[in-house]
């Protein structure tokens, strides 16, 4: 019953999306108020029915309805309720439903929040474009991946949610990531609406900026959560693996980063507007591409969803339609886009242009590295593999100039400037960063290239951001610094924190694999690890061997740590559960290896001490927060003035 209700809700959502993508759009074309006024109601209805479908699926999971195939495959009687809830989006079908729900949510938010700040025809076009995207995803869900399919009679018990996904980080990782992915559809919608209306100019860009910033902030958060998850769940202490699916989320992030910067130029100076439109199209298209790569099984990856060529074809066709028509429209309309003011070589435009060059090239390189195996195979050039070394080397090369240039950007003037004026206030920061970096690295015993580079680069970014703040000290004192600038400073300083973290983790990680017998001690870097025993423990749906450690610093006990080797009942997968003691400056990390086969009860155990790894995610969190704060800048949410003025003019003329 509930499954059928969910199914019907989805179909109704599809009907409303179809209406939304056609009728109000025609209204906007004909300037028909009545038809345009339909859009907000359609958006609300679309959201309500999508939510109903999603709630139905969640209910099916929570109530153990194993007559639904999706539930039978991804859940069982032993799974605790919060994982059953998370299992709603743990499968391919469910995650598509989540995707549609997010899209419906963004549409609702745009229709509510931008109602007064956008001219009606424009808002209508934006919503219609997003409705069209929703049609594609709803059709995809209903035709190839229906989450409500029945199996009669249902099995008495289900199988299991992939144990890798049974984890708190996994409950929140997909929703955040999708918020970001799907959020770029707003920027896409604005760009297409701008092209359709033939009005790609500053106003358009200003309206879309807060939405782009929000999407970008969510994407940053989602990627960060994924990295954190991989760190503690996969059991080998890395924080980024250049896995194809990680890359699939990283490419839109890089393009999104370029986009928020190019939007700043286009809004303030009207320069490179066509480029901004193109980036908006590209950021959303690569989000779609990411979906395609994950779902079609073209590339193999840890995100092993059930893959299916039919689904691959469908997404590819959908992507071809969406991006293909967007780019065709671009080709016809972009030449008509007004050209902005020119600028000198030394200017803020140049700084932001350089940002765009580096981030776009990086996105291109990551994309090429990810698709390389396909290209090579296609060309028949033989069998070559691309590993993390390619990405790592390429990335350091491209991001070093970015780190050096970031503090210069905000301090430079629009139009024209001279280098001396920009650099002068930063000389102190520069000197302090270099000297301070060297001293800190030496004091920490980390006197190697990576750590030193990390400290100098990080301090340069943080101090550079502070010195920008110093120059605005009047506004800071009166608490009137615009939120856009607060967000920017926070994000740039966040990059600094991140850089320090990477430099330290990559150079100063202590790793040791050793044989531990119960009673053994390991002394390292001021810590003593003492293994009491290895015991059997039982969880709701697994049994495990658990190592029980006490960790001392000097004589003081600092932590009890209990790494596990879990055997899940269903599927009989073995999982390594790492024991972690997080710290601002050090993480202690213990992973249980294998029991020794010599009958002594000894285990091989891996101990890591990871310095500053929290700084990596801390920096990323600052980036995301900075994005959100900037998005809340009042400037973006002002009532649409031209309309107000027109209204005033009309009333003024009426009596005459």
């Amino acid at each position: 019953m509930i499954a059928e209700f969910g199914q019907i809700s989805l179909i109704l959502a599809l009907v409303l999306a179809t209406l939304l993508a056609t009728v109000p759009l025609y209204g906007a074309y004909r300037n028909n108020e009545a038809l345009m006024n339909l859009a907000p109601s359609l958006v609300t209805g679309h959201f309500v029915f999508t939510l109903a479908a999603f709630a139905s699926l969640a209910t099916l999971f929570l109530t153990h309805d194993f007559t639904v195939v999706n539930v039978a495959i991804n859940s069982n009687l032993l799974l605790p309720w919060f994982y059953r809830f998370a299992a709603t989006w743990g499968s391919h079908e469910g995650s598509l439903l989540l995707w549609v729900l997010m899209l419906a949510g963004w549409m609702l938010a745009v229709s509510l929040l931008s109602r007064s700040s956008l001219p009606k025809p424009f808002l209508t076009r934006v919503l219609a474009v997003m409705g069209a995207i929703s049609i594609g995803f709803l059709l995809f869900t209903l035709l190839t991946s229906n989450p409500f399919d029945r199996i009669l009679p249902g099995p008495p018990d289900g199988q299991d949610l992939n144990p890798l996904l049974q984890d708190a980080g996994m409950i929140f990782h997909p929703p955040l990531l999708y918020m970001g992915y799907v959020g770029f559809s707003v920027a896409f919608g604005f760009a297409i609406a701008g092209l359709l209306g033939g009005r790609v100019e500053r106003d358009w860009v200003r309206w879309s900026r807060p939405w782009t910033l929000m999407a970008w902030a969510f994407l940053t958060g989602g990627i960060t959560l994924g990295s954190w998850w991989a760190y503690y769940e996969l059991g080998w202490g890395g924080w980024w693996f250049w896995d194809p699916v990680e890359n699939a989320s990283f490419v839109p992030w890089l393009l999104g980063t370029a986009l928020i910067h190019s939007q700043a130029v286009t809004e303030k100076r009207g320069a490179f507007p066509a480029w901004t439109v193109l980036l908006a199209i590209a950021a959303f298209s690569t989000s779609l591409l990411g979906t395609f790569l994950v779902r079609s099984g073209v590339l193999t990856s840890v995100h092993a969803f059930a893959t299916d060529p039919e689904r691959g074809i469908f997404i590819l066709a959908f992507m071809a339609i969406v991006t293909g028509s967007a780019l065709t429209l671009y080709a016809f309309r972009a030449p008509r886009i007004m050209v902005g003011k020119g600028f000198d070589f030394v200017s803020r435009e140049t700084a932001l242009l350089l940002n765009n060059v580096f981030f776009t090239v990086s996105a291109g390189m990551v994309l090429i590295g990810t698709l390389y195996p396909l290209v090579i195979d296609f060309m028949g050039w033989g069998q070559i593999s691309v590993g993390p070394p390619y990405f790592g080397a390429m990335f350091v090369l491209l991001m070093t100039p970015v780190v050096m240039l970031i503090p210069l950007g905000p301090l430079s003037r629009w139009g024209q400037d001279n280098l001396k004026r920009v650099v002068a206030p930063l000389l102190i920061s520069m000197a302090v960063a270099v000297v301070g970096g060297l001293i800190i690295a030496a004091a920490l015993g980390a006197f190697n290239l990576r750590a030193i580079t990390g400290w100098i680069g990080g301090l340069w970014l943080i101090l550079g951001s502070l010195s920008y703040l110093m120059r605005q000290k009047d506004q800071v004192r009166r608490f009137s610094l615009p939120r856009g600038q607060v967000g920017m400073i926070m994000a740039h300083a966040g990059v600094g924190v991140f850089v320090i973290g990477v430099g330290m983790v990559e150079s100063m990680t202590y790793e040791r694999d050793m044989r531990f017998e119960p009673g053994d001690r390991l002394e390292v870097a001021g810590y003593t690890f003492h293994l009491h025993e290895v015991a059997q423990v039982k969880g709701p749906n697994w049994i495990a061997e658990e190592g029980r450690f006490t960790v001392y610093r000097g004589d003081r006990e600092v932590a009890q740590m209990r790494p596990q080797k879990r055997l899940h009942h269903r599927g009989q997968q073995v999982m390594t559960e790492v024991a972690l003691r997080p710290g601002l400056f050090h993480d202690l990390y213990i992973a249980l290896g294998e029991p020794m086969r010599d009958g002594t009860g000894a285990w091989s155990i891996r101990v890591h001490i990871k310095p500053y790894i929290r700084w990596i995610w801390g920096g990323a969190v600052l980036l995301a927060l900075g994005g959100l704060i900037a998005a809340s800048d009042r400037r973006y949410w002002k009532r649409y003035r031209a309309e107000a003025r027109e209204a005033a003019k009309n009333t003024g003329e009426a009596p005459a």
């Binding site: 890798l164 996969l234 059991g235 080998w236 693996f241 896995d243 066509a274 193109l278 199209i281 590209a282 298209s285 591409l289 395609f292 079609s296 099984g297 073209v298 193999t300 990856s301 840890v302 092993a304 060529p309 691959g312 074809i313 590819l316 992507m319 071809a320 991006t323 293909g324 780019l327 065709t328 671009y330 080709a331 016809f332 972009a334 030449p335 698709l371 195996p373 396909l374 290209v375 195979d377 296609f378 033989g382 069998q383 593999s385 590993g387 993390p388 790793e511 694999d513 599927g571 009989q572 997968q573 073995v574 390594t576 992973a591 290896g593 294998e594 091989s604 891996r606």
Partner: protein, 179 residues
């Protein structure tokens, strides 16, 4: 106008590439490789635990065996590892590890941490033997029969379904070999 068509052109190229890769991806998964049905190339490589000893594909003639390509740098190898362990325990034929483009130290650490269910490992640091073998990426799993013919190749991580399929094929090969 012409300049503005460039992005569209690039995109069309990308779609064509993906379109072509889609069915071949399936082929790679199922029919796998032109080497299936041919004799496994003969090569000698140093062992992993015992670098002094040279290991060859000929060592296993007369019985079926599994050849599993892996590397400590390979993310998906970590994912399929539980199933590889089960293969080692339950398949009843030698499970040969083909350690590809790896550092010896990293590989040994990896085995220490996750478990070493393989009968023996051979090490291909430069990846030359891997090219002869038509290795497309790690992980890959080859089934080779008692006459030394490659009977099956699976690309990508082994999961529950693939595992069952592999075990079935191995049973078949064991019957043929009469072991």
């Amino acid at each position: 106008m012409i300049k503005m068509l460039v992005p569209l052109g690039v995109f069309v190229g990308l779609v064509v590439l993906l379109l072509i890769s889609l069915p071949t991806a399936e082929q790679r998964r199922q029919v796998s490789s032109p080497l299936v049905g041919r004799e496994v190339p003969t090569f000698s490589l140093p062992g992993l635990h015992d670098p002094g000893v040279s290991r060859s594909t000929v060592d296993f003639r007369g019985q079926p065996f599994i050849l599993n390509v892996w590397g400590s740098w390979c993310f998906s190898c970590r994912v399929e590892h539980p199933y590889i362990e089960r293969l080692g325990r339950e398949a009843g034929v030698p499970l040969v590890g083909f350690n590809w483009r790896d550092e010896r130290e990293d590989a040994l650490e990896w085995l220490d941490q996750f478990g070493d269910a393989w009968t023996v490992h051979m090490v291909d640091v430069e990846g030359r033997a891997a090219i002869d073998l038509g290795v497309y990426g790690a992980p890959e799993t080859f089934l080779i029969d008692h006459r030394g013919i490659i009977r099956h190749k699976h690309i990508g991580p082994v999961d529950e379904e693939i595992y069952a399929d592999l075990i079935e094929r191995i049973e078949q090969m064991r019957v043929e070999a009469g072991t």
